[in-house]
Symmetry: C2
Subunit: 337 residues, 2 copies
DNA sequence: CTGAAAGCGCTTACAG
DNA sequence: CTGAAAGCGCTTACAG
């Protein structure tokens, strides 16, 4: 009988080898991502493995899992993304595991040992090399990049950042603002760049010039929001509105306004980006561009599972819409301006 | 070579057989609980298995994991707790999996199939029955109960809620407040009850009577903070300070004060509980009782792993200290009061 | 790149 | 109750 609890009729390496017209060792190599198998042969074997729904004998007891890799858990976005992933995974009886990639270079070895059906990397956490190693093990990788850095050839999920920047800025323009500042993110983050470009596009379309001194950038933190907010309000001709690249920056600007004795929104309108939960609890409630993080997590999970099942998804890049959420931090500019 | 990734020096059935002075098939029977082995032989084999720390080959490939069960991921506490758990788990090369128990009664079956080394249940998520099933599978359970409901006989980690309530209230009394309101949590949550008792103890010790109309309770939500805050401020003799059972309630009180045209802290001092990240980003920055959630997660993980290793922990209930974090939402009461 | 041969760890069926 | 023998599923080392 079988070595372990292999059940009646389950596919073995020998069966797969016979059906694929190769030997058992070749199947073994494909299974373990070892080199020395012709691409064509590998494909044929992989197809049979899928068709026969081959499982390793030890995989029978191990519940299938989906792995989510975060760069660091400090992210305020993490919990909402996890919620979306957990929802899709739960519906399919799938466990969810997670890893911090910042914990060291060994994270991938651990993930590989766990043999997840797929890996979702948040924040461009997984780079080219990781992708290659996962691919070698037949584990699909999906990038979820709320802060950008899409890696080509890796399926990914993101948000409509450019549109969000455009919509937020149009909203301020429609309220009558002309002196609009933007606090952007680090230049390396493509998503931040897209939001900035959306801002510029709206300003250009309205024929409103962008003053260099009203354009700032830094890390996406409360502290930088406070710093830039203070500097902007200290200008001889301060802005009447600020569009911030994320909600944390916006809260920093709130504090800068408070310290400078300016009221939000009467003296200064503020728009954020993300719509984290605390945005609606801030005082005043923050008008912001909602990034549907839970939906993004769910979409990434769906995409990952489609790939894990060996199916070809309709598209390899999914971009979800952003929405402007109107709350109480924006109004028309003071008449004096 | 080895069938799978068995590493050099790892104990095999053959080694155990030799050391126990029996044959491999006998060891196999012991491992799988099959009949037909003399009690004495079985014991000898089991001792060697333990001494040699024998692992099945598939247990080697399956990375050991620690499971965290949340009632729901909506919790703002979740991410900080996870961070603490992940830190301890990461240091020991352990994977972390997580489940939402609110997703349905089947969550335990899934967890059992995954065979975690231990389960940490947050929020009293795991009840008596779950505990019994886990115990039957030899999987230790640790309860992490920031909102209370400790289940006796289940090892648990919590925070010094009573002390936190006492310290927060003393702080307000020392500032000169006498008309101090408290917005408590649901009566079922023992942690909320402990905070309320700490409040009462401080008031009693100071000889300050607690007015019934200044004592409120509800869900631990922004909305209830707003509602109770509005009602309190509408009293003919409103309080000069409010101690809130969590940070969300405090933010609701902020909004109520804003709407009533009262300033925090000049007209109304506010103290929260939890010290979630956004507490320091709120306007004004919130004075609150810090619950060390990451440390609680870490302590729960340590406790769980100690139990998983078969060791007896020094104590089965760990209570971590709370700290009053002074920020900008409290000051002396207005002179008129 | 491929597979026949050897071998590993474990289990089963069965003889004693 | 015990273990020699056979066998299973998989992997490795190596010859072609």
């Amino acid at each position: 009988m079988a070595r372990r609890g292999r059940r009646r009729g389950e596919t073995t390496v020998a069966t797969v080898a016979r059906l694929a017209g190769v030997s058992a060792p070749t199947v073994s190599k494909v299974l373990n991502g070892h080199p020395g198998v012709a691409a064509e042969t590998r494909e044929r074997v992989e197809r049979v493995l899928r068709e026969q729904d081959y499982r390793r004998p030890d995989a029978v007891t191990q519940a299938p899992m989906l792995e989510v890799a975060f760069q660091a858990l400090e992210s305020h976005l993490a919990i909402e993304i996890m919620r979306g992933v957990a929802q899709v995974a739960g519906a399919r009886q799938l466990a969810v595991g997670f890893t911090e990639t910042a914990s060291g270079p060994g994270w991938l070895d651990q993930v590989l040992r766990r043999r997840p059906v797929a890996v979702i990397a948040v924040y461009g956490a997984a780079m080219r090399r990781e992708h290659a190693r996962l691919a070698a093990s037949g584990i699909p990788l999906v990038a979820l990049d709320p802060t950008g850095e899409p890696v080509h050839s890796v399926p990914s999920v993101g948000a409509a950042n450019w549109n969000g920047g455009l919509t937020a800025t149009r909203h301020l323009l429609e309220l009558g603002h002309r002196r609009i500042a933007m606090i952007g993110g680090p230049p390396g983050f493509l998503a931040a760049r897209a939001r900035l470009d959306g801002f510029r596009a709206a300003m250009d379309a309205a024929g409103v010039p962008v003053e260099a001194q009203l354009l700032r950038s830094g890390t996406l933190s409360y502290e930088d929001g406070l710093r830039h907010g203070r500097d902007l309000l200290a200008l001889s001709a301060p802005p009447t509105a600020v569009f911030c690249c994320n909600d944390l920056l916006a809260l920093g600007v709130y504090e800068a306004a408070r310290r400078a004795g300016r009221r939000v929104p009467e003296d200064l309108s503020v728009v954020g980006f993300d719509d984290l939960e605390f945005a609606r609890w801030s005082g005043p409630a923050l008008t912001t561009v909602r990034q549907p993080l839970a939906e993004m997590g769910a979409a990434a999970a769906e995409l990952a599972l489609t790939l894990a099942a060996g199916d070809t998804p309709p598209r390899l890049r999914i971009e979800l819409a952003t929405d402007l959420i109107l709350r109480s931090s924006t109004t028309s500019p003071p008449v004096a301006a």
